[in-house]
């Protein structure tokens, strides 16, 4: 019953937030330069019909239900009276097709008028902004295409993969995270709209990003392993690898890049039975199984 009390309070809160929305502005006559959305339907009936079924379409159609959306279609496309009067010869001031002359900055500015909050706060100056990407390179507006975020392709992976082809291809390698299987998305780790962090990560560092799911690696441990402490990506390629555990190199070579001659034993020949423990199965981790850090008092060599 205690849960029900919280639900009641939350429901009351919902009502309080809904109340201010009750008053909706009335339809106004188009101001100078604007044609009004009704004029758009004459030529773009199919597009308008599809758009009206989307959440954004409904909001704009509510005529003021969304800030800056009071001009209907022209809220995004700009005052288009000239476009209508020319029978389409003159393009609207803001157009989003790949052939449009509207600069990417102007296109994006139109979207950011309403969508600059939360993750888009970091859009200005971000990697994708500096690469001249437009919002419509990744998102569609005029119809529903995906479950959330209305992406241009069927999934986040496919959308990001249209440019980051090598990363998308890596997701098919022998060891990979389940992005191709639809269980994860690029956006679980990266913030495509901008981030103050390296590689557009959602968290402050590679490790903190990984720890959000792999918290068992977080420690702190009694015995730290320096490359682990500094970055998981020292040893792992999170986008996929042909090696076990998404390792960048095959064991024992990976370890030998810092530990040149482990135990003085040969490791260049798979035919030596003595080097089975180095060259087969998990390589060095056959014994140093706590390689991410050990909290065992006898774990200085990560074996316990």
């Amino acid at each position: 019953m205690r849960h029900m009390r919280y639900v009641r309070w939350l429901s009351v809160a919902l009502v309080l937030f809904i109340a201010p929305r009750m008053a909706i502005a009335q339809q106004k006559q188009p101001p100078a330069g604007y044609a009004g959305s009704a004029a758009c339907v004459d030529c773009h009936k199919e597009s308008v019909h599809q758009f009206e079924a989307t959440v954004m379409g409904k909001l704009i159609k509510e005529n003021g239900g969304v800030k800056n959306g009071e001009h209907g279609c022209e809220s995004c496309h700009g005052p288009s009276k000239a476009h209508v009067e020319s029978g389409g010869d003159v393009l609207p001031p803001i157009s989003y097709s790949s052939k449009a002359k509207t600069s990417v900055t102007d296109r994006n500015a139109s979207c950011l008028t309403c969508h600059e909050k939360t993750s888009r706060t970091m859009w200005a100056g971000s990697t994708h902004e500096s690469r001249n990407l437009s919002c419509t390179d990744c998102h569609v507006v005029m119809h529903d295409n995906t479950e959330r975020s209305n992406l241009k392709k069927a999934s986040v992976l496919a959308t990001c993969g249209s440019c980051h082809r090598e990363k998308a291809a890596a997701m098919s390698k022998f060891s990979h995270m389940p992005l191709g299987e639809g269980k994860m998305e690029c956006t679980n780790c990266h913030s495509p709209h901008g981030s103050p962090n390296e590689k557009l990560l959602v968290a402050s560092s590679v490790n903190e990003t990984c720890f959000s799911c792999h918290a068992e690696k977080r420690g702190p441990f009694m015995w730290e392993h320096l490359p682990v402490t500094e970055s998981c990506s020292n040893c792992h390629d999170p986008h996929g690898s042909n090696k076990i555990r998404m390792l960048k190199y095959v064991p024992p070579r990976l370890c030998q890049q810092c530990h040149l001659t482990p135990h003085g034993a040969p490791s260049g020949r798979p035919e030596d039975q003595a080097s089975v423990r180095f060259n087969y199965n998990k390589g060095c981790v056959n014994c140093h199984s706590q390689i991410h850090g050990s909290n065992h008092p006898a774990g200085v060599f990560f074996t316990r």
């Binding site: 479950e147 998305e185 420690g219 070579r253 200085v300 060599f301």
Partner: protein, 821 residues
């Protein structure tokens, strides 16, 4: 289950609350013409599905489902299907593939739905959504993820099946034959259950409140390994239990002023303001703190004996010495708290400043495990009094702090200037501890390996400056310069830090309607700072790639060509190389080069036909330099140029695909098909600089290297599907899928050693079956040193048909949903 039940129950109740309160309130207020139009649209959309909908005064309920069955024409065995079901489930028989129950309010734009995918299967998912745009957005997503690590494991013991955390072997210990003929123990698998609950509120146009709770339950097991007597064995791979939970709570409040009134305070200067404050708490809990593993060579403990005269330890039987059962620590439970502050302002000239501060504290204080688990040790060892832990737990505490500052401006129309500063620091505040004596491998105490815990604090500072000039419409040139200063605690590890400078240039061209181009080039120069401290003689003249001097270059070229409207072709080329080997480096990673090329095409000659195809090839070559070393310092074999060797790690990855989608009868019959070939080859080439000489025959042989066998994998999935709309309410999908997986990795297969000695022998030319349970043993004994579970992914060929009937297909959820994370 309690957590999931609570999540789902809470979600349902909250959704019900939203329905109860929100919808009528909205509806009463908005009986407008537009709303009526929306209702009309909804009605239109559901017109064809009248039987599936229940309309009431407050809205419309719509149900949709896709059910059917799957049957295999070629089905891998339970042992061979490990790779097939790595992250998914492919049961045969009846399926409830997709389903949804949606409520659409008659007079509002809200959306309330419960969506399922693969219900009842191991990889099932559920999504509950209550959305009122601009007001609230409530979601609960549960998306179960199987991680199938192996389906081929075999063991002669009890791998935790009777008592989780106790991996026992029979007494007397199994011999070679028993290991090799050990029974299969079933799948080694961990099931992840991520449940994400998020609730976003927009109380006013300027405010956003968001609450997220990600709960991840992990249950199952994982193969791990242990050595009982140091690097010489015996070692054993065992099944470690997994019973862990991760709970991440986050609450954030954002503010956005929108475009401010010019007449407001500083309105002429400060155009808009945004800010976010967030707090996150993460808790990781492990039900197990350790696992007990039986020694495959000993059923009674034997400790090394101490000779007071020579002050040396010796093993009584000189063959096997150690504990009969070892205790291995599992990851300790821990927590992390993070506070984030972020602010942004927009000034004239589209100048924008964004600053953020992020600080987190991670803690871990689980009780220490005992130093050893060898009952024989207590009777003989003279250093037992030094083994007591100095304190009961670590009192582990780590602080991380990040400061970011980003500025962008457009001082003139076509010019964009940018500057970034980032300071990230990692600081371990755990009180240092001193281990006076250590029991390595449960055999004997040692003072030489005793140590003081050391931490590796570091600070990474990044500065970046950039300028972009738009030369023509949709054409720009960018230049940038980045500096990274990596500072470590002096003397902690090898190098005090490093500095890397990365100038870059990029060109974007999109002025032609049929062509868009992007090209970028970046150089990197990294140098370690201070003196490179070689940790021991083992690594003289070696530079760890993390600290070594490095020259880098990156080229990225992309083109999209649209020669005529229905055809679009994309081309890409990336070249990245890292070159090491500066300032005294003779060993370690010397170079790492990757070239990736890709082409894809999309062709839509008519509206009802779409063809697409693509090809990507990745070529990576990484070169390492090593040496074999033996003997005393100063001896010929200690640093013998004839013992130097080079490894080249050559990776080749090729992915090709083709897809077709054809609408044969509009709105009635559709055909889709596709194939992929995902091919990977890895080959390690090992070569000595010269024929190893200068030592004994055995030493020279140990210094001799040869190529590793090639490791290959290839996955070839093909699928073909026909969708037929029987009536507006009913649809039918028949699909055929074929998957062939080929795998050849000698590291997980049984080597046919031709020599009974541990070192030497001619190159192996054949490997048969999975890596056996006992390598290096004399048949019929238990003297083998390396005991594996025979984990491997077997090749497979699988072909199956899926027949699905859909009810109300227009309202089915997309086949691909969003992840729960």
């Amino acid at each position: 289950m309690r957590h999931y039940s609570l999540s789902i129950t809470t979600a349902c109740v909250l959704a019900a609350g939203a329905l109860t309160w929100g919808v009528p309130a909205k509806g009463n207020a908005q009986a407008t013409k537009d709303s009526a139009q929306a209702t009309k649209d909804n009605a239109q959309a559901t017109k064809d599905n009248a039987q599936a909908t229940k309309t009431s005064n407050s809205g419309t309920f719509t149900a949709a489902a896709e059910v059917g069955g799957r049957g295999f024409t070629t089905e891998p065995s339970d042992v061979d299907n490990g790779r097939l079901e790595l992250y998914r489930s492919l049961p045969k028989g009846a399926l409830l593939e997709r389903g949804s129950l949606r409520f659409t309010p008659a007079d509002s734009m809200g959306r309330y739905q419960l969506v399922s995918r693969r219900l009842g299967q191991i990889d099932q998912s559920l999504w509950l959504e209550a959305l009122m745009p601009k007001l609230y957005d409530f979601n609960v997503r549960w998306d179960r993820i199987p991680h199938l690590y192996s389906s081929t494991a075999r063991s002669p013991g009890d791998e935790g099946g009777t008592t989780l955390g106790l991996n026992s072997l029979p007494t007397p210990r199994p011999d070679t034959t028993a290991w090799k003929n050990a029974p299969y123990i079933g799948n080694i698998r961990t099931i992840w259950d991520p449940v994400k609950t998020s609730f976003a509120l927009r109380p006013t146009e300027a405010l956003d409140t968001k609450f997220d709770w990600l709960h991840i339950g992990k249950k199952g097991n994982l193969a791990k390994s242990i050595s009982f007597s140091g690097s010489g064995g015996p070692s054993r791979e065992y099944v470690s239990p997994i019973d862990e939970t991760v709970n991440n709570f986050r609450i954030a409040q954002s503010y956005s002023s929108g475009l401010r009134d010019r007449n407001s305070a500083l309105g002429e200067i400060v155009k808009s303001v945004q800010g976010t404050i967030a707090y996150q708490y993460s808790k990781y809990h492990n039900e197990f703190n350790s696992v007990l593993v039986d020694n495959p060579a000993l059923s009674t403990p034997v400790a090394l004996t101490y000779n007071p005269t020579t002050q040396a330890y010796t093993c009584p039987n000189n063959v096997v010495c150690g504990t009969n059962t070892a205790r291995v620590g599992l990851p300790p439970s821990n927590t992390a708290s993070t506070i984030s502050l972020m602010g942004a302002v927009l000034l004239p000239l589209r100048t924008r400043f964004v600053g953020s501060v992020n600080t987190s504290t991670e803690k871990q204080n689980e009780p220490f495990l005992p130093q050893f688990n060898n009952s024989a040790l207590a009777a003989t060892d003279p250093n037992l009094n030094l083994l007591a832990n100095q304190r009961p737990s670590l009192e582990g505490k780590v602080d991380r702090a990040t400061v970011n500052f980003v500025a962008t401006s457009h001082p003139i129309t076509n010019l964009t200037l940018g500057a970034k500063y980032r300071n990230y620091s990692y600081s371990n505040k755990t009180p240092q501890g001193r281990i006076l004596a250590m029991v390595v491998s449960d055999r004997a105490t040692t003072l030489s390996d005793s140590a003081t815990t050391e931490w590796d604090p570091f600070t990474k500072v990044n500065e970046d400056f950039s300028a972009t000039y738009q030369i023509i419409s949709n054409g720009s040139v960018s230049v940038g310069y980045g500096i990274e200063n990596f500072t470590r605690e002096p003397g902690v590890f090898r190098a005090d830090g490093s500095q890397e400078k990365t100038p870059r240039v990029a060109v974007d061209y999109g002025a032609l309607s049929w062509l868009s181009l992007h090209g970028s080039y970046m150089l990197g120069h990294r140098k370690y700072t201070g003196t490179y401290t070689e940790a021991s003689t083992e690594v003289s003249d070696m530079r760890s790639y993390m600290f070594a001097d490095r020259n880098s270059a990156r080229i990225n070229l992309m083109a999209t060509i649209t020669p005529f409207d229905p055809l679009s072709v994309g081309l890409s080329y990336q070249n990245g190389e890292d070159m090491y080997g500066k300032r005294g480096q003779r060993f370690g990673l010397m170079s790492d080069k990757t070239i990736t090329t890709g082409v894809d095409a999309d062709y839509t000659p008519i509206e009802r036909l779409n063809l697409s195809a693509g090809y990507t090839h990745e070529k990576t070559d990484a070169v390492d330099r090593f040496r074999y070393r033996t003997g005393a310092v100063g001896s010929v074999t200690y640093d013998n140029p004839a013992y130097y060797w080079t490894t080249t790690n050559a990776d080749r990855n090729t992915t090709a695909y083709g897809n077709v989608r054809a609408v044969l009868i509009p709105e009635q019959l559709e055909l889709t098909g596709g194939f992929s070939v995902i091919d990977s080859k890895f080959h390690m080439f090992n070569v000595n600089d010269e024929t190893p000489t200068g030592g004994t025959a055995a030493q020279n042989l140990s210094a001799t290297v040869d190529n590793w066998p090639e490791v290959t994998t290839r996955l070839t999935p093909i699928n073909l599907a026909v969708q037929y709309r029987l009536t507006p309410e009913w649809g039918l999908t028949l699909s055929f899928t074929s998957e062939k997986y080929e795998n050849n990795n000698f590291q997980f297969e049984a080597p046919a050693f031709t020599s009974t000695t541990l070192a030497g022998g001619p190159p192996i030319t054949s490997w048969t079956g999975d890596l056996p349970g006992n390598v290096g043993a004399t048949a019929g004994t238990n003297t083998g040193q390396f005991h594996f579970l025979a984990n491997n992914y077997h090749p497979y060929t699988a072909r199956w048909f899926t027949l699905l009937f859909s009810y109300n297909p227009s309202f089915l959820p997309f086949r691909s949903g969003r992840s729960a994370f």
